[in-house]
């Protein structure tokens, strides 16, 4: 009796008290590790690229910024293509791996491109293509490798690991610059080596989704049919609508800087504040989403952003209000980025998971691009603070409507 009793209590304890990482599947942790290492690689390039272009090559970066904006639009299309091919060929891992690999090779391409503006443009476009291709299949793999009731937690773990990589990237780049006495090619070569480690990890430890599926099932028509399915269409539509009234990061930081007169030297640290909060809250908010519902948490994130905007433009400008606003901006990311994927996942048939997730992400991304154009226009017409307040009002209205519409049934 004694033995049996202790066994049952052990079992009970075992199911209740497993640490967070143990409860997400090994595949999700492996994908998180791949993202972490990849982000180290890509963020180290992002950090030195402006320096390299201006000092190393003497390019005019204003022109470059324009070009960069063009690529961002192009990846939206690539993302859906990546998702669709992954579903169609039933090879999520292979398509994601190709995307990771392409981006890795592009780091060497930067060295090979030398000082040719055209070549650098092509390499960066290819890099973006790689990123676009891999995102849909990767999120589909996370979703398919998780228990449906723990999706929020899985995406939280993945996004937190991803953010750790983003933190480490600039630090590694600084170390390489210090060690090489300021050689940019060394940063690119190191970035390639790190990206190659990520591809190796993906090849060895990530498993493609289990189970054989009927190849004929995934046609272009089936993919388009997704949008005819009411639940999915509503989520994609509301996500895009919310994206349309979301104020972009750079604007949030600009308001913060203007009102709090933050010295320009500290300005680049603001995004780190957001990322820090995101990192800490990604898993807890993912778990919360699993418990109380993903849509409420997703909308709660938008409410946090709305509150942050109101604080930023309110009558008071105390230091603490600024810090709270920055914190709320981090909450917005933690409550929306992975949570949306967790919310959308179960609505998409397994065979079409990558396509569906890419469609939702693309809708949101395109809407956000449009939003930043509109917001820029409002800013020039009315000045920054009125523009932010109007944006906050729109955001509140759309979020409220989304809460009433309840596109995701609990």
């Amino acid at each position: 009796m004694y033995i049996a009793a202790s066994r049952t209590s052990d079992l009970a304890a075992g199911t209740d008290r497993k640490p967070a990482l143990k409860r997400v599947s090994a595949n999700v942790v492996a994908l998180g590790a791949v993202s972490l290492v990849t982000d180290v690689s890509s963020e180290m390039v992002t950090a030195v690229l402006p320096l390299y272009l201006v000092l190393g090559l003497g390019l005019n970066p204003l022109q470059f910024g324009l070009l960069d904006g063009l690529y961002a639009g192009a990846t939206a299309v690539v993302r859906v293509l990546g998702g669709h091919l992954a579903d169609r060929w039933r090879r999520l891992k292979a398509v994601a791996g190709f995307g990771y690999g392409l981006s890795a090779v592009c780091k060497l391409g930067l060295v090979a491109a030398g000082s040719s503006v055209a070549a650098i443009g092509v390499v960066l476009a290819a890099d973006r293509t790689g990123k676009g291709l891999r995102t849909g299949p990767r999120d589909a793999l996370i979703s398919l490798s998780s228990e449906p009731e723990a999706l929020g937690r899985s995406f939280g773990v993945h996004r937190a690991m991803d953010t750790v990589g983003a933190f480490l990237g600039p630090l590694v780049a600084m170390a390489v610059l210090a060690l090489s006495l300021g050689s940019y090619p060394s940063v690119f070569v190191t970035s390639f080596c790190i990206a190659a480690i990520a591809v190796l990890l993906l090849a060895l430890f990530v498993h493609d989704r289990p189970g054989a599926v009927d190849r004929a099932a995934v046609s272009l028509r089936a993919a388009l049919g997704l949008l005819r399915q009411q639940d999915f269409r509503r989520v994609a539509l509301w996500a895009a609508l919310l994206g349309l009234v979301t104020v972009g990061d750079s604007f949030v930081y600009l308001v913060l800087q203007r009102r709090w007169e933050i010295a320009a030297t500290w300005f680049p640290l603001l995004p780190l504040g957001t990322a820090g909060v995101y990192l800490v809250l990604a898993v807890p908010l993912g778990k919360l989403a699993d418990r109380v519902g993903r849509w409420p948490v997703f909308l709660g994130g938008h409410a946090a952003l709305c509150l942050a905007l109101v604080l930023l433009c309110g009558p008071q400008a105390g230091l603490w209000l600024g810090i709270i606003a920055l914190g709320l901006h981090g909450v917005f990311y933690a409550a929306t980025d992975g949570v949306l994927m967790a919310a959308a996942g179960p609505l998409i048939p397994r065979d079409l998971r990558a396509t569906g997730m890419a469609v939702v992400q693309t809708g949101q991304a395109v809407a956000r691009m449009l939003s930043s154009v509109l917001f820029g226009l409002a800013w020039t017409l009315w000045d920054l603070r009125p523009a932010v307040l109007v944006a906050a009002a729109c955001l509140a209205a759309v979020a409220l409507a989304a809460a009433l519409a309840k596109p995701v049934r609990p």
């Binding site: 402006p50 000092l55 390019l59 022109q63 960069d68 060690l179 480690i197 990890l201 300005f267 680049p268």
Partner: protein, 314 residues
């Protein structure tokens, strides 16, 4: 187990490759040769030696002579009178931070300002009393490679620092111009130390702005004029004119008649031109310093190879 061994071995190999490459790059950028003691004596052409990043000098009359390299490392360098300015990125800072070094006639540091951004342009006013610069600033957006410019100046005598001239009230077509995206770059001062010119960039357009430093206001003179450089006689402005996306042509604008003359250099030049005298314009292009007649005649002539950011002492 086999997979873990494979992963560890592969990782170790790739990390080792990165470290070996990084460490071996040290030699290429390492110090070469002892440093010469340079002064701002007249008749010299200064430049940035692109191989070492150090400031070098040759006699202006004999640019092919063996150059002297100082110990000073700069990304942009400029001189006028007995004042020089050196913009140097602080090593290992991300996002970049630049040291603006104000130097005396023996290239000794008189003053240092540390500002965020990446060096783009540097100049000293003809009287040697002001230094000014343009820095590229990043970090305004987290995920994108977004850039903006910040042009500022420092008064050598009074120690007054203007971190950015963005607040300069400016008139376009007679009307006060307001826009959130106003950017300035490439300042150039007249010999009187008060009148100055700069590029105003906003909403995809660029303007040549003429400004009064004392009254602190400016007006747009003309569109599509970037990186102005005023001639020693104060009558003409050499500038880069945009002729296509990322393609610029060196031109000279006569301020009295607003007539433009394209110079003989047909390649795209992305530099703030420098007047050697009233007849010759210098600029950096394709890892060398070039000279071209300011009246549109003749042909470009290479002065020094492996060089950028030319500066001359009068």
């Amino acid at each position: 187990m086999k997979k873990i061994v494979l992963a560890l071995a592969g990782t170790a190999l790739l990390v080792a490759a990165a470290v070996v490459y990084t460490v071996s790059s040290r030699h290429e950028t390492a110090e070469a040769g002892p440093a010469a003691q340079l002064t701002l004596a007249p008749g010299q052409l200064f430049y940035r030696d692109t191989a070492t990043g150090r400031v070098g000098a040759v006699p202006l009359a004999d640019a092919g002579a063996k150059p002297q390299l100082s110990g000073l490392k700069c990304d942009r360098f400029a001189v006028a009178g007995q004042t020089a300015v050196c913009l140097a990125v602080k090593p290992g800072t991300l996002p970049a931070v630049t040291d603006v070094l104000v130097l005396d006639g023996r290239l000794g540091v008189r003053h240092t300002e540390t500002l965020p951004g990446t060096p783009s342009r540097a100049r000293v006013s003809p009287d040697g009393k002001r230094v000014y610069w343009t820095l590229f600033v990043t970090g305004d957006s987290y995920a994108q490679t977004g850039f903006s410019t910040r042009a500022g100046l420092y008064e050598v005598d009074t120690g007054r620092l203007v971190k950015t001239i963005e607040e300069l009230p400016v008139f376009v077509e007679g009307k006060r111009y307001f826009a959130a995206d106003v950017n300035y770059w490439g300042i150039t001062f007249a010999p009187d130390g008060n009148r100055f010119y700069a590029t105003l960039g906003s909403k995809g357009k660029t303007y040549l702005v003429e400004a009064d430093y004392g009254r602190y206001r400016g007006k747009a003179l003309r569109e599509n004029v970037e990186c102005p450089s005023l001639s020693p006689d104060g009558k003409r402005v050499a500038f880069k004119k945009k002729v296509g996306e990322g393609v610029w042509r060196l031109s000279v604008l006569d301020l009295a008649t607003l007539r433009e003359t394209e110079l003989a250099e047909t390649r795209s030049v992305d530099d703030q031109a420098l007047w050697q005298d009233d007849h010759t314009v210098l600029y950096g292009l394709e890892n060398a310093v070039w000279a071209v007649p300011a009246d549109g005649s003749g042909a470009p002539r290479q002065l020094v190879g492996g060089a950028a950011s030319p500066a001359v002492t009068g």
